[in-house]
């Protein structure tokens, strides 16, 4: 499963996929390395920039499209998966990647996540999970621990259980599910390459620290560990492994073999023929 990621092959370089816009992110934000991983992945696959579309919602992480040099659509909070599905369904020949945060993807966009997993359109979703709403200055997200008391909005802690994105993705029928850590852009890039190449909807959960509102996440460096198994194509097996994992295991959990959803369409009628049906 190893993807060759070296800089000495002739072809596009990661820098070719970066725009010259300076990110608004805080110094040390995990998203910088995710961006590096993304551009490396794009270079590795040699994606044509003009045939590649990145879609995002709203949040710190959702700013990524402006920092790439491919086509992008920075949409509204929570709707990125639906917008991206429209792009890919209408123009199947395009490469479609989606970027966003845990709030964007699992809270306001939760319904779209559920249905994107079951719909299985061939596109790749990269969720940068920092277990907080960064852009709105530090509220609890759906992945925040129940007893996290640092938000003014929930001073006693959110009081509800966090969801587990990888298990959720598996339960909803996602076809490719992996987890990475932003600190290792090469590994992030590898997961993205595998996800993009895999037919169907791929979810890449990336732990990406918010150093401003959750500085303790810097410690993730020592918390993460390889998940330790080979990818399976059996969702049940993947789910069992995920439930045994502590949420910090990195790797590919599932590379399933469901057929991607792509309604076909070859014209068989002219509009004049269709109109005839109304004639009295």
């Amino acid at each position: 499963m190893d993807t060759h990621l070296t800089d000495d092959v002739v072809g596009p370089l990661p820098g070719d996929y970066k725009s010259d816009v300076k990110p608004i992110w805080c110094p040390g934000c995990g998203d910088y390395s995710v961006l590096a991983g993304i551009t490396r992945a794009m270079a590795n696959m040699g994606l044509e920039r003009h045939d590649t579309v990145v879609v995002s919602g709203i949040g710190c992480s959702s700013r990524i499209p402006a920092y790439t040099s491919v086509y992008g659509y920075h949409t509204v909070h929570g709707r990125s998966l639906a917008v991206a599905s429209g792009v890919k369904l209408a123009r199947p020949e395009l490469n479609v990647l989606i970027f966003g945060g845990d709030g964007d993807g699992f809270s306001i966009g939760g319904n779209h996540f559920l249905h994107a997993c079951r719909r299985n359109v061939d596109m790749t979703y990269i969720v940068m999970d920092n277990q907080v709403y960064g852009m709105t200055k530090g509220q609890a997200s759906p992945t925040t621990e129940a007893d996290w008391c640092e938000s003014k909005l929930t001073p006693e802690g959110p009081g509800v259980n966090p969801i587990q994105p990888v298990a959720l993705a598996l339960a909803c029928g996602a076809n490719f599910v992996a987890r990475g850590f932003s600190n290792n852009p090469n590994e992030v890039a590898r997961l993205i390459v595998e996800g993009v190449k895999h037919p169907g909807f791929s979810v890449i959960h990336i732990l990406s620290p918010c150093v401003t509102f959750r500085p303790e996440q810097r410690g993730w460096k020592s918390t993460v560990h390889p998940y330790g198994r080979e990818p399976t194509d059996d969702p049940n097996e993947a789910m069992r492994a995920v439930l045994e994992d502590d949420g910090f295991g990195l790797g590919i959990f599932l590379a399933g073999n469901r057929r991607p959803f792509q309604p076909g369409s070859t014209a068989t009628h002219s509009i004049a023929q269709i109109e005839e049906g109304f004639a009295v």
Partner: protein, 573 residues
């Protein structure tokens, strides 16, 4: 003696086949050369329950419901009280009733209408496989003088697949009904049809909107079902596929509109259809379409609101949300078809405008148009097509300005697949080069440009339907146009000149054009189907209306009738 128009209600609880009989009556009338309109009145039940097919037939095009019903035929009276108010009668009306179904309900009998007995159930019972609705159809056909050949063709088409026995049973039922009614001499024979002239179509407003989308060049639709818009989506599903397009059932309206924006961003003209609650959900993304300059068409088939309101009945009360519902200063297109047939033209025009101006267009149809079926002259072919201005000169690496501040306000678009046009479309305010910007100057420039592209466009004559002359004018829109048109024509027939201005382009407003249309007018009557007189207030907010202005405004579900508008006009003279 013959009449110029006859209005018939076929009433019966689910299973009686009132809708089928109404449909067949309309189709048969079309076959022999009459025009007609069929709307439906149903309760909230899913299947069964009270239902009425409301049919109006005439030798000339039918614009709206009749003033009152000339004939009511009831297969049973179950729950008819629930919509008796929708069945206006007079002493001249005829109620046909089956004695075995009990007395005519008091609310209807009070009209003083003539009552005629027809043993519908008994007659149907004598025929193997006989059905009450066919007996009723036969009776109505005999009363209005519908030639048998017209019905035969319909029966053949509807039942051909079911075999000879079914056809025979239907024919026997029709014969039985018409035999009984033949001797009644009710004086409701319809004037002879005029088969000359253009090809005629049998089409519903929702189908017409779907066809308009196809003719405009739509290739993508994302859909979430809601009454009374669902038929647009159901019609588009197979027909988009036949023309190489796609329809996807989305998880909700937020996804529907978002998917359409994605498809459109990638260059494919897109449409979705919904009703009030769905439009509310879509407004955030419609704003995204405005800001990111992504064309999209949303057909809102209005129903009674607020909230889930009266889903099966008509109203025009989504006007405010369609025009004002977006956050921020978000200029966009709002258009309203003026008849069932016009749902085709207006939707096709909306696709053209949305693409030409790179912005969302809301088409405000309503239940009365969408779910009614009419016999109309085949609509003329309109030239309007999706034709987005694409960038040809991309200016080299990093030079392309997606949101260039051009004179017209329209910026040449680059779509995925075009090398050198890479950019990020954004709902965040941005500079000309598409990069996010919170600078006052960029905001002002982009706001100006997005407004300018709408206000400087030449919309030609299609902005309104204008008829007649004189000092009195009716200003209206949407399905209130039909009864208003009929009222104006009645006034004229009696010697008083009047004008009709039915505004198709609701937003952006056209003050100079309306001023010209109302030049010399001293009295204006605004007609609309809302409780809060939304259209009147909208006009007051954006136009200078001449002379004395009066309003006829009533919420649904009762349709506006020509008689009411006519009487109001008479009271103003």
């Amino acid at each position: 003696m013959t009449v110029d128009s006859v209005t018939i209600a076929l009433v019966g609880s689910g299973g009686a086949g009132a809708m089928t009989a109404g449909q067949m009556l309309l189709d048969a009338a079309a076959n022999v050369g009459w025009y007609g309109l069929m709307s439906r009145s149903t309760g909230p039940q899913i299947r069964g329950g009270e239902a009425a097919a409301l049919v109006r037939l005439s030798p000339t095009p039918v614009h709206g419901p009749g003033d009152r019903f000339d004939i009511i035929i009831a297969f049973d009276w179950q729950n008819v009280e629930r919509f008796a108010a929708e069945l206006p009668l007079s002493e001249k009306s005829v109620i046909i009733t089956d004695p075995s179904q009990g007395e005519v309900p008091a609310v209807l009998a009070a009209s003083g209408a003539k009552q005629v007995e027809l043993p519908i159930k008994e007659l149907a019972g004598r025929i193997p496989g006989g059905r009450v609705n066919m007996v009723g159809l036969g009776a109505v056909a005999a009363i209005v003088g519908l030639p048998r050949a017209g019905i035969d063709a319909v029966i053949q088409k509807a039942l051909g697949k079911k075999g000879d026995a079914a056809i025979q049973a239907s024919n026997a039922g029709i014969d039985a009904g018409s035999k009984e009614a033949a001797g009644w001499n009710l004086g409701l024979e319809l004037a002879a049809p005029n088969k000359e002239g253009a090809t005629r179509w049998n089409i519903s407003g929702n189908e017409a909107a779907g066809l308009g989308a196809l003719k405009g060049g739509v290739k993508f639709c994302a859909a979430y079902p809601i009454t009374p818009a669902t038929e647009i989506l159901e019609w588009l599903a197979p027909n988009l596929a036949k023309t190489g397009g796609k329809l996807v059932q989305a998880e909700d309206e937020l996804a529907s509109i978002a998917m359409c924006l994605g498809a459109s961003f990638s260059g494919v003209p897109s449409i979705t259809a919904t009703a009030g609650p769905g439009l509310s959900l879509m407004t955030e993304c419609i704003g995204l379409g405005v800001a990111s300059e992504t064309p999209v068409v949303i057909v809102d088939v209005q129903r009674g609101g607020p909230s889930t309101g009266i889903p099966t009945k008509s109203e025009q009360s989504d006007l405010n949300i369609a025009v004002y519902g977006l956050h921020g200063d978000a200029p966009h297109l709002v258009v309203g078809p003026t008849s069932i047939g016009d749902c085709l033209f207006t939707t096709q025009w909306a696709v053209h405008l949305a693409e030409a101006l790179q912005t969302p267009a809301i088409v405000l149809s309503d239940q009365a148009m969408g779910q009614s079926r009419a016999i109309v002259d085949k609509p003329a072919d309109a030239p309007h097509k999706a034709n987005r201005l694409l960038a040809t000169d991309l200016g080299g690496e990093g030079k392309y300005k997606r949101y260039a501040d051009t004179e017209s306000g329209v910026s040449p678009a680059a779509i995925p697949g075009m090398p050198g046009g890479e950019h990020t479309a954004d709902g965040l305010e941005h500079a000309e080069n598409a990069l996010p910007s919170s600078q006052a100057s960029d905001h002002q420039k982009q706001l100006d440009k997005r407004l300018r592209k709408l206000t400087s466009h030449d919309y030609g004559d299609a902005w309104a339907d204008i008829e007649g002359e004189g000092e009195i004018a009716v200003v209206t829109w949407g399905s209130a146009t039909g009864p208003s048109r009929e009222a104006v024509r009645r006034l004229e027939a009696a010697g008083t000149k009047a004008r009709l201005v039915a505004i198709r382009l609701i937003s952006p407003v056209q003050p100079a054009k309306l001023a010209a249309a109302l030049d010399g007018v001293s009295k204006v009557l605004v007609v609309e189907q809302t409780h809060g007189a939304q259209f009147h207030k909208f006009l007051r907010g954006h136009y200078d209306l001449p002379g004395k202005v009066s309003v006829f405004s009533r919420p649904g579900p009762l349709p506006i009738r020509a008689r009411e508008v006519h009487e109001t006009l008479l009271s103003l003279i």
